[in-house]
C-alpha cells in the first residue's frame, strides 16, 4: 500500500492511498510512543478507525509525507520533552519541578512518584503531573550532570 500524506488545507492532514482513495482528517498516532519511539505509527481516520500501521514510518514514507506527519504529531501530542531540570523540591509527598522543555519553561507538581514517574527501559522516563500533563525525558543519562543529580535526588 502506497501512502502519501499532506496537509489540505493547512490544518488538516490528508492521506492519499494507492492513488485511489483520499482520507481527510487523518490522525497519526504512535502505537507505543515510549517503549518503541519513532516506530509503529498508526494512521486513523476521523472516526478513529485504523487505516494503516507503518512499522518504520521514516523509511516507509516519502520525505514530504514524513515531514507532514511530524508536524501533525507535534500538533496532536503536547507531551513536553525535558531538556534540563532547573530545580526539584520535595515537600510532603509532592515533588515540585521547574524544567526547560522543547516547548519552553514550565513548573509542575507531581505526587505519588511511584506511579506517576514511569520508566521505560533504563533511561527513558515519563512524568505525569497532578493535572495530567505529560513530561518526557528521552534519555536520562544524556541529561547534564546537575539535572541528573536533581532527578536522582527525587526518584
Amino acid at each position: 500500500m502506497k501512502i502519501e500524506l499532506f496537509h489540505q488545507p493547512a490544518t488538516r492532514l490528508c492521506a492519499q492511498i494507492d492513488d485511489e482513495k483520499c482520507v481527510l482528517g487523518v490522525k497519526p498516532v504512535w502505537a507505543a510512543p515510549l517503549s518503541r519511539p519513532k516506530r509503529y505509527l498508526a494512521l486513523l481516520d476521523p472516526k478513529g478507525e485504523d487505516i494503516a500501521l507503518l512499522f518504520e514510518p521514516e523509511r516507509e514514507l516519502s520525505s514530504a509525507s514524513w515531514q507532514a506527519v511530524q508536524s501533525e504529531i507535534r500538533r496532536r501530542d503536547l507531551t513536553s520533552r525535558i531538556a534540563r531540570l532547573q530545580s526539584v523540591r520535595e515537600d510532603n509527598g509532592a515533588a515540585y519541578f521547574s524544567v526547560e522543555t522543547d516547548r519552553g519553561a514550565r513548573d509542575f507538581v507531581a505526587t505519588s512518584l511511584s506511579t506517576n514517574a514511569i520508566w521505560f527501559g533504563e533511561n527513558r522516563l515519563l512524568l505525569i503531573d497532578t493535572e495530567g500533563n505529560r513530561f518526557e525525558i528521552e534519555d536520562v543519562a544524556a541529561l547534564e550532570p546537575r539535572s541528573r543529580a536533581l532527578l536522582e535526588g527525587i526518584l
Binding site: 488545507p9 490544518t11 488538516r12 482528517g25 507535534r74 500538533r75 496532536r76 501530542d77 503536547l78 507531551t79 513536553s80 520535595e90 515537600d91 510532603n92 509527598g93 509532592a94 515540585y96 522543555t101 516547548r103 519552553g104 519553561a105 514550565r106 513548573d107 509542575f108 507538581v109 505526587t111 512518584l113 511511584s114 497532578t130 493535572e131 495530567g132 500533563n133 505529560r134 535526588g153 527525587i154 526518584l155
Partner: protein, 733 residues
C-alpha cells in the same frame, strides 16, 4: 488558567439566547497556554454572542462570527486538547490548543459556543478550581486543596491542642513532670562538681561524700521514675487525641455530601483517617515530648553554664550553630534518600505480591526466569538505594559526632586553661563538661523536629479540611411523618454539574404500592432518578413530594429509614449472614431474621453451610456466590421493611435458575411497597404498574407494558433491539 473577565458576570451566567443589544458582552474569557507552533505561551480566547476571538498578546489573531458556525467541539490531544469549530461550509478550523491544566474550562467553553450557535440559553460552568496557592503562588498538589508550604502551623497546632481540653488535668501534670524531670536531670553534674570541689580536692569531710552520693542516687532514681510516668502519660494522652481525631474525622466523613466522594478517591479519604492521624499521633507521642523536654534542658543547661563561667559558656557553644546547620542542611537530602528507599520497597513489595498472586499464570506460561529477572532488578535497585541512604547517613552522623567532640575539645582546652590559671575550680569545670554532654545529643535532632512538626501539621490540616467540608443536609429537626409511600416528582431538574442538567422537568407520581419501572438507554437518567429518591442529591429545581410533603423538610435519616435498596452488586459487610440480614434492623430477633431469609428464598442455602446463619460472608460477601449475596440483600431489605423499595438491576448478574428464585423472592418483597425498578432485561418489568421511559433526562413515554407495546414507540423499539440481541447471542451460543 482562567483569566479574570474584564466585565463582571456571574460564575454561571444564564440569559435568553437572543442578541439583545449585548452582542459584544464577553461571555467567556480564557487563557490558553499553547501557542500555534506548539510551544508554551499565552493566548486569550474570548467569546461573545457575536463572535469568537483569539488574541496573541495584544494582537487579534483569529476572529470567527458565531453566525458562520455549524458546531464547536473539543478535540482531545495527548497531554492537552484543542478547541475546534466547524463552519457552515463544513471546513474545520482549529481555534486554540491548551494543556491539561486548563482542559476542563475549554471543555465548558466549547459547550457554551454550541449553545450560542444553537440559540439556546447560555449556561456554562465557569467556576474554576484553585490550582495555585493564593499566598505563595506555588502549584497545589490537589486542586482546591491546601498548600503544604503555607499551612498556618500555629493555628493547626492550636486546633490539635484543643483536643486536649477533656484531658486538661493530665496535660498539666505532664507539663509539671517535664519541668521537674529537667531540673532533676541537671542535678548530677552539680553534685559531681560539689564532690570534686568540696570533698575530693580538699580531701576532707567524708560524710559529705556519702551525703552527695546518696543525693545523686535519689536524683537518678527520681529521674527514672518521673521519666517512666511522663512517658506513660504522654502515650496515653497522644493515644486519646489520635483516637478523638480519628473518630472526629470518620464521623465527619460519614455525614459528608456524596459530591465530596465523587471528587476524591476512596484512598485519599481513608489516608486522612489512617496516615494523617498517625502523623499527628507520631508527633504528639514522640516529637512534642522530645521538643519540650530537650528545650527545657537546653535552657537550663545554658543558664547553669553561664553561671559557671560566661567565657567558657560562649566557647563551648561555638560548635552548636554548626551542629544545627548540619542537621538542617543535610537532613533534607537524607530525608529524600530515605523516601527513595521507602518508594523502592513499595515497588519491590508490589512486584513480589504480583508475582506470588499470579504464580499459576507464571508457571503456566513458564516465565519463572523472566519473573526472576524482574525480581533481581527490583532487589538490586532496593539494595543500591539502601546503601546510598545509609552511607549518607553515616557521613552526616560522623560530621555531627565530630562537631560534638569538637565541643568537648573546646571545653577541655578553654576550661583546662581556666583551671590551670585558677580562674575556674576543677569542680566547676567538671560541671560544665557534664552539662555539655547533656545538650549536644538533642541538638543534633532539633532540625528533624521542625520537619516532623511540618508533616504533622500538614496532616492535621488535611484532617480539618475533611472535618470542615459541607455535610449532607440532615435536617435533624425536620419532620418525621408516618410514610404511606406516595411519591411525586414535581417538575424536577437536576444536574451533577449544575450547568448540565441530567434530569429536565421530570414530572410523574407513584401511588402507594405502585411498581414503577424506569426504562431508557445508558445515560437517560434512570440511576439519577434513584439517587434523587434516596436523597443522595437534591433537585436543583422543582420538588420531590412524599405524601404531599417536600422531602427536604423531613429528617434525612427518617426518610432513608423508609427506603430499601437492592442493587445489582449487593454490598455485604464482613460478618455473619445473620448480622448482614439484620443490618437495617439491628434489634431484630432471630425468628425475624429467619422469616426474612425464608421470604427471600435464602433459608435453604444458608442452612446448607456448616455454620448456618453464623457463617462469615467474607469481605464484601466474597465467600458467597452472586445469587446468594443477592438473596441475602433481599432478606435484608425485607427485614428493613421499607415503604419505598428500589431495585437497581437486581437480577442482572445472576444465571437463569438463580434469577427464578430471586424473582420469587422479589414478588414477596414488593408486596405493599412503592417500588422503583431499573432493569436491563425489559421482560422483568412486564408486571409493573407503570413504565416511565426516559431519554436524555426527559420522560418520552409512560404507561403499562402492554400500552407501550401497542403504541410502538421508544419502548417498543428498545424491546425489539433487545430481542434481536438475544437472538444473536442465542445463535452464537
Amino acid at each position: 488558567m482562567l483569566a479574570a473577565p474584564p466585565q463582571t458576570h456571574s460564575s454561571s451566567s444564564q440569559s435568553n439566547g437572543h442578541l439583545d443589544g449585548h452582542a459584544n458582552e464577553i461571555l467567556i474569557r480564557l487563557d490558553a497556554d499553547i501557542l500555534p507552533d506548539g510551544d508554551f505561551g499565552h493566548r486569550v480566547l474570548e467569546v461573545t454572542r457575536a463572535e469568537i476571538r483569539v488574541f496573541d498578546g495584544d494582537k487579534l489573531s483569529t476572529r470567527i462570527p458565531i453566525s458562520d458556525l455549524k458546531s464547536a467541539r473539543n478535540e482531545p490531544l495527548v497531554s492537552g486538547g484543542r478547541l475546534e469549530v466547524i463552519l457552515q461550509s463544513g471546513a474545520l478550523i482549529p481555534v486554540v490548543a491548551y494543556s491539561m491544566s486548563v482542559a476542563a474550562q475549554f471543555s465548558e467553553a466549547a459547550r457554551g459556543v454550541e449553545q450560542l450557535i444553537e440559540g439556546k440559553p447560555f449556561s456554562i460552568n465557569q467556576k474554576t478550581e484553585k490550582t495555585r496557592c493564593e499566598k505563595c503562588k506555588r502549584i497545589l498538589p490537589e486542586k482546591d486543596g491546601i498548600c503544604p508550604a503555607c499551612i498556618n502551623r500555629t493555628a493547626a497546632l492550636l486546633r490539635v491542642g484543643s483536643y486536649l481540653e477533656p484531658y486538661k488535668a493530665q496535660a498539666a501534670w505532664l507539663a509539671f513532670l517535664s519541668i521537674v524531670t529537667t531540673v532533676i536531670n541537671l542535678a548530677p553534674p552539680t553534685i559531681q562538681g560539689a564532690l570534686i570541689d568540696r570533698v575530693l580536692e580538699p580531701r576532707r569531710d567524708i560524710g559529705l561524700l556519702w551525703q552527695l552520693i546518696a543525693l545523686w542516687f535519689f536524683a537518678l532514681a527520681g529521674a527514672v521514675v518521673l521519666q517512666v510516668v511522663s512517658a506513660r502519660l504522654t502515650t496515653w494522652l497522644a493515644g486519646q487525641i489520635a483516637t478523638d481525631l480519628r473518630a472526629g474525622v470518620y464521623r465527619a466523613v460519614e455525614f459528608l455530601e456524596l459530591q465530596f466522594f465523587d471528587k476524591k478517591q476512596v484512598g485519599q479519604i481513608t489516608s486522612r483517617i489512617t496516615q494523617d492521624t498517625d502523623r499527628v499521633w507520631g508527633f504528639l507521642a514522640e516529637g512534642l515530648p522530645f521538643l519540650l523536654s530537650n528545650l527545657l534542658l537546653v535552657i537550663g543547661v545554658l543558664f547553669l553554664l553561664f553561671q559557671v563561667s560566661w567565657k567558657l559558656a560562649l566557647a563551648v557553644m561555638a560548635p552548636i550553630p554548626v551542629v544545627v546547620f548540619v542537621g538542617i542542611y543535610f537532613w533534607d537530602h537524607q530525608s529524600t534518600l530515605f523516601q527513595r528507599v521507602s518508594s523502592r520497597w513499595g515497588r519491590f513489595h508490589t512486584h513480589l505480591n504480583e508475582a506470588l498472586t499470579g504464580i499459576r499464570v507464571v508457571k503456566a506460561f513458564a516465565q519463572e526466569d523472566y519473573e526472576n529477572q524482574k525480581f533481581t532488578r527490583f532487589n538490586s535497585q532496593l539494595k543500591e538505594a539502601g546503601i546510598v541512604a545509609d552511607n549518607y547517613w553515616h557521613t552526616i552522623f560522623g560530621a555531627m559526632s565530630f562537631c560534638t567532640s569538637l565541643g568537648a575539645l573546646i571545653c577541655w582546652s578553654v576550661g583546662g586553661y581556666f583551671v590551670f590559671t585558677g580562674e575556674l575550680t576543677l569542680g566547676s569545670f567538671w560541671r560544665a563538661n557534664a552539662y555539655l554532654g547533656l545538650i549536644y545529643g538533642p541538638m543534633q535532632w532539633f532540625a528533624q523536629v521542625n520537619n516532623w512538626f511540618s508533616r504533622a501539621m500538614a496532616g492535621a490540616e488535611k484532617i480539618f479540611e475533611v472535618m470542615d467540608a459541607k455535610p449532607e443536609p440532615y435536617n435533624r429537626s425536620g419532620q418525621k411523618p408516618e410514610i404511606s409511600g406516595h411519591v411525586r416528582f414535581q417538575n424536577v431538574r437536576f444536574g451533577y454539574d449544575k450547568s448540565n442538567p441530567v434530569l429536565k422537568n421530570l414530572d410523574f407520581e407513584a401511588k402507594p404500592g405502585d411498581f414503577i419501572g424506569l426504562v431508557g438507554k445508558s445515560g437517560a437518567g434512570k440511576s439519577t432518578t434513584i439517587n434523587l429518591i434516596c436523597r443522595f442529591y437534591e433537585p436543583d429545581a422543582g420538588a420531590l413530594l412524599v405524601d404531599g410533603l417536600d422531602y427536604r423538610e423531613m429528617d434525612l435519616q427518617h426518610w432513608r429509614r423508609n427506603i430499601g435498596i437492592v442493587l445489582q452488586e449487593p454490598f455485604l459487610f464482613n460478618g455473619t449472614i445473620a448480622d448482614n440480614i439484620a443490618y437495617g434492623k439491628p434489634d431484630a430477633s432471630f425468628e425475624e431474621i429467619v422469616a426474612a431469609a425464608r421470604a427471600a428464598e435464602a433459608h435453604a442455602f444458608i442452612l446448607g453451610k456448616s455454620d448456618g446463619y453464623d457463617s462469615i460472608v467474607g469481605e464484601r460477601g466474597g465467600k458467597l456466590s452472586g445469587g446468594e449475596r443477592q438473596r441475602i440483600s433481599i432478606a435484608r431489605a425485607i427485614l428493613h421493611d421499607p415503604k419505598i423499595l428500589i431495585l437497581d438491576e437486581a437480577t442482572a448478574s445472576v444465571d437463569v435458575e438463580t434469577e427464578k428464585q430471586i424473582q420469587q423472592a422479589m414478588k414477596r418483597l414488593v408486596e405493599g411497597r412503592t417500588t422503583f425498578a431499573i432493569a436491563h432485561r425489559l421482560a422483568t418489568l412486564r408486571n409493573a404498574t407503570r413504565l416511565i421511559v426516559l431519554d436524555k433526562g426527559e420522560i418520552v413515554e409512560s404507561g403499562t407494558h402492554a400500552e407501550l407495546m401497542d403504541k410502538n414507540g421508544e419502548f417498543a423499539k428498545l424491546v425489539r433491539t433487545q430481542s434481536e440481541i438475544n437472538e444473536i447471542i442465542g445463535v452464537t451460543q
